[in-house]
Symmetry: C2
Subunit: 620 residues, 2 copies
């Protein structure tokens, strides 16, 4: 019932939204031109990426077909739908940027509305798509275990897209800053910087397309893992579907709040109102699960706000980093790294408590429900994250076409805040989802105990802890190598005085797809190898090691990067072009790939590891 | 028998060495003056530090006296002896530096001999002291369990000294580089840099005094943990003592090799010859334990050489970091971080194999023996590490007093290599020692299983993994804050044109002792709190989480820092003072505190956590 309502209202929303947005103005010719360039660049990247991924998916589907046709079907649909979620998200964003620039001329609020609703379109689409697919596949196959194929496909594609888009966006951003800001003293998004379009394309392919696939994957993995558990316990499989449907409807409720004229209230308020709405409706519809739902929601919000505290320029952690830039670039970076390390404190306490409390109310099922609950509010969170990328683009277009960007910049800084909160949710829900998958693993493998006193388990704990380090290394070095290539090109463009926006886009596309293939394949092969070498019995402890290490590493990276970024923005306000500013740009350059590339990818990676381990057990 | 031989030859060596070194020349008046300044600065730091630590030790001894007088005695002696080991080590080094400078005028080899033998003096003293104390205390109390008090005292003091000295040395180094190299373009160790004496003092108080206490603690903890296990199994308690005695004798054997005229052969050869010697004698004397001894030694050497590969400027990882400096400081730092993350790969594989293999030969006792075996060769490794600090000082004195430093520099770069290898040994043996302590914990607490499916254990795994992150954050931010203070002073000295070497030393002393107290107390209190809150039963899984996270983090930090340091040296060779060089100095500034401060301290920290957990169990 509530699920059907969610479907109907979402479809209504999508139709009305498309009609509404088609009537917006896209401003002057220059604005249209730049917007078109960004759009073309983004599409070109996605085209290249999808070509390769599609071949890969086909090959893998054939391999899986050898084991099981049901899994081949679910795997293929998971992968394919994940591609679609990414594409639709990116389309919405690349259309909305120029509308937002134009609307910002009128008021901050009109801009906010366009950007937020476009973000909402992407996130509602991803959620509804996932819900729909799961319902259909479950009714076809009747056993949620088979749907792990779907989760596998979705996670694999999401990881590829996160990594590929992440390398693109961060190498473009980094090289634009290194050459433009540090070497030439140009402002952000200056039309004189050849890497500027690549940078703006990056926001779409990394933060929007990557994020949309990421969200799709998160939903799918946690819903399916919960369903498997409910199935084993003989309980109603609809529980996670109902919870997510409530989340979808809460997205639409948030639209009412977003109209508020104070943009801080609008965005943060919409988060709180959605939370309360979800809690209220869950109280009515899912009363027997209300405790873990409460823990998941409150835990997610607490972690989100702790991320906000450690990364916002309003508070002392980030202010101290900006101050350290006065003594030198190295001290600035160290302050950022140290802040990132420290910022793991609240998330660790909260996640441990959510785990213990949820377990004490409904055992392993409690943990599963709390993970889904944390995700139920993600629609709103993601909408405000994509909102950040859109306003980033909008502000870029304003600068490029020499319009006033005051209002856009206001939205842009708000977008950073919401993006930070979003990261907190993603990381925490990933940890809980992995624990749910681990529970599922134990259930299917019929393991009674994962004993650390068994030396093999201890060794697997070490190896599991190592995987996130290894993967981060691959991704970070890929960003570094790609950036170096772009920097070389931009420098030669500066020397020749010819301006060519497209070559940096092309370089970034080629290089990031290459490194995406290498890093992801490497890690997937590693996990399969460990499974084959050490045997299925130790995979549980491998997952445990990986989830702890990945949780800590990704929070460290997200917050170190986020605070260095905002420290730079703080310095930029009144010391643009000074030595202190250049020091802070170095800090941002170090932090950015950590925050937007390796950090977020880790959350998908550990789920993928858990799912691969599950498939190991299922196929013996 | 072999133990007595070790005692006799060590004492003979110490006597002959003191006689031999007293006849060496200490060069010109300027050299003597600078050497004296370094010595006074080092002593002043140690005096301040020891004052506070002594009070702390007394207070803690009184507290422990309330529980058990035996533990109070062992605790006090462990702490006190650790202070002595640090003091003797530092004395040897501050005396040797100027002799080495003078001897280097004659030949690289004469310099090498003085520096190496002085290092050997420090390490042999620490080893013999530990051996002696353990034998006496064991014969007094008869139960090795009571000796955990000794290990507790030694670890606590070692951690304080590592952290205090580490903050001192790195903040002095960093601020000397930031102001001298980056802002003024002065060469390393220029007499015009007011922070230069502080920098050279740092080498002694951090790398030598800290390292000596560290070595003392490592021996003591692993020997006692092994004895507890042997005691429980009713086996001969002398096994680890014999193994360490063989190690001490092997140190003296290494003197023969160190005479070789090729200094690379001399140092690396002495390591290999000692290894073979230990293995040979163990084959004769400890045949039933030969397998874990072999695994431990080979594992240590493999990890040592992998560290060498990832940090030496001879190989591509470090060369690529130097190349990345061409594209900007941020890319240089990122390349270093990414290399550090990647460099965990071989240590993880090796430590997992050593664990599994040693266990398969002698179960938990096998792991304990392999840890002691890894440490048995540490005498030679430590001697060559201290050798590095002495030559660093020697080369500084040559520069300050305007003598040729060609030969000293050759030794200096060799010292970096051996220091890197030494780190590999320390980190790996720490991991194995913690596993031994964990085994001891299980034995005493009578735990049969540490089941990760128990949600409390899973939560404790998260919290344990968090501790190294938290601690690193405290230490790194302490280095940053102390550096900022020194930088401010040096800048004002540059402006006033008055040269005052002592103020930076005083600032560094005060600030590093302050932060030392805060960071160590904080973490110790945290562990005690977790024990009280979560209960003793989850401490096993807390230790497991901490050891995995700390192992990965400390290798990451050691190698990221080491490779950034050597990349800078590589750039310095032919591009001194260029932009690329300045970029690489930023990288070194970020890497240095990771490598020499938070990284090494983590190894002591996890042992301390394990020992505190043990005491929890022992005192109920």
């Amino acid at each position: 019932m509530i699920i059907s309502i969610a479907f109907v209202v979402s479809i209504l929303f999508l139709v009305v939204f498309n009609f509404w947005i088609s009537k917006k103005s896209s401003g002057s010719k220059a604005m249209k031109d730049f917007s078109l360039k960004i759009r073309e660049g983004s599409k070109a990247f996605l085209r290249e990426e999808y070509k390769i991924l599609f071949v890969l998916i086909l090959v893998l589907t054939l391999v899986i077909l050898y084991f099981s046709s049901a899994f081949a079907i679910t795997f293929f649909s998971g992968a394919f739908f994940s591609l679609i979620a990414g594409r639709v998200g990116m389309n919405a964003a690349t259309k909305a940027n120029v509308f937002t620039t134009e609307a910002c001329k009128k008021s901050v609020n009109s801009g906010l509305k366009i950007a937020y609703l476009s973000g909402l379109k992407a996130s509602i689409f991803a959620m509804v798509l996932g819900l729909f697919a799961i319902i259909v596949l479950q009714s076809v196959f009747g056993d949620p275990k088979i749907l792990y194929g779907f989760a596998f496909g979705a996670s694999l594609v999401a990881l590829f897209m996160r990594v590929g888009g992440g390398i693109f966006t961060k190498s473009a951003d980094l090289s634009a800053d290194l050459t433009g800001k540090i070497e030439k003293g140009l402002p952000e998004d200056s039309p004189k910087n050849p890497a500027v379009i690549a940078d703006l394309v990056g926001d779409n392919v990394g933060d929007v397309a990557g994020m949309s696939s990421d969200l799709f994957e998160s939903y799918v993995a946690s819903i399916i893992a919960t369903m498997v558990m409910l199935f084993a316990l003989g309980l109603d499989l609809n529980v996670p579907l109902i919870l997510v449907s409530i989340g979808i409807i809460s997205c639409l409720v948030s639209i009412l709040v977003v109209q508020h004229k104070n943009s801080n209230v609008a965005i943060l308020g919409s988060l709180l109102v959605s939370g309360v709405f979800i809690l209220g409706l869950s109280y009515l519809l899912l009363f027997s699960y209300i405790l873990p739902i409460l823990y998941g929601l409150v835990g997610g919000i607490l972690i989100g706000f702790s991320v906000f505290y450690f990364t916002s320029s309003k508070f002392s952690p980030t202010r101290n980093i900006a101050k350290a830039a006065e003594s030198g670039a190295a001290l600035n970076v160290l302050a950022g790294l140290s802040n990132g390390l420290l910022s793991t404190v609240i998330p660790i306490i909260v996640i441990s408590l959510v785990m213990v409390l949820s377990y004490s109310s409904l055992e392993l099922l409690g943990i599963a429900i709390s993970a889904v609950s944390m995700l139920s509010i993600m629609g709103v969170v993601l909408a405000s994250t994509i909102f950040g990328s859109i306003t980033d683009n909008a502000s870029g277009i304003a600068e490029l076409s020499k319009k006033s960007k005051v209002n856009c910049s206001k939205l842009d800084s708000l977008g950073n805040t919401t993006a930070a909160i979003g990261k907190g949710f993603t990381i925490s829900s990933a940890a809980l989802t992995v624990l749910t998958l681990l529970a599922s693993f134990i259930l299917i493998a019929e393991v009674d105990v994962i004993d650390l006193l068994n030396v093999k388990n201890m060794a697997a704990l070490f190896v599991g802890g190592f995987i996130p380090f290894f993967f981060s290394s691959l991704v970070i070095s890929a960003v570094g190598k790609t950036s170096s290539k772009i920097v070389t090109n931009v420098r030669s463009q500066f020397r020749s005085k010819k301006l060519d926006y497209l070559t940096p886009v092309r370089i970034a596309t080629k290089s990031s797809i290459y490194y995406m293939m290498i890093s992801v394949s490497f890690v997937v092969v590693l996990v399969v190898l460990v499974g084959l070498l050490l045997g299925v019995s130790v995979l549980g402890s491998l997952i445990a090691g990986a989830v702890v290490s990945s949780f800590l590493l990704s929070i460290f990276m997200a917050n170190a990067g986020g605070s260095l970024d905002n420290a730079k923005k703080l310095v930029e306000v009144d010391r643009y072009g000074t030595k202190v500013h250049k020091n802070s740009v170095v800090g941002d350059g170090v932090g950015d790939p950590l925050k937007d590339c390796s950090g977020p990818a880790l959350n998908i990676l550990i789920k993928l590891i858990a799912i691969i381990s599950l498939l190991f057990v299922i196929f013996g």
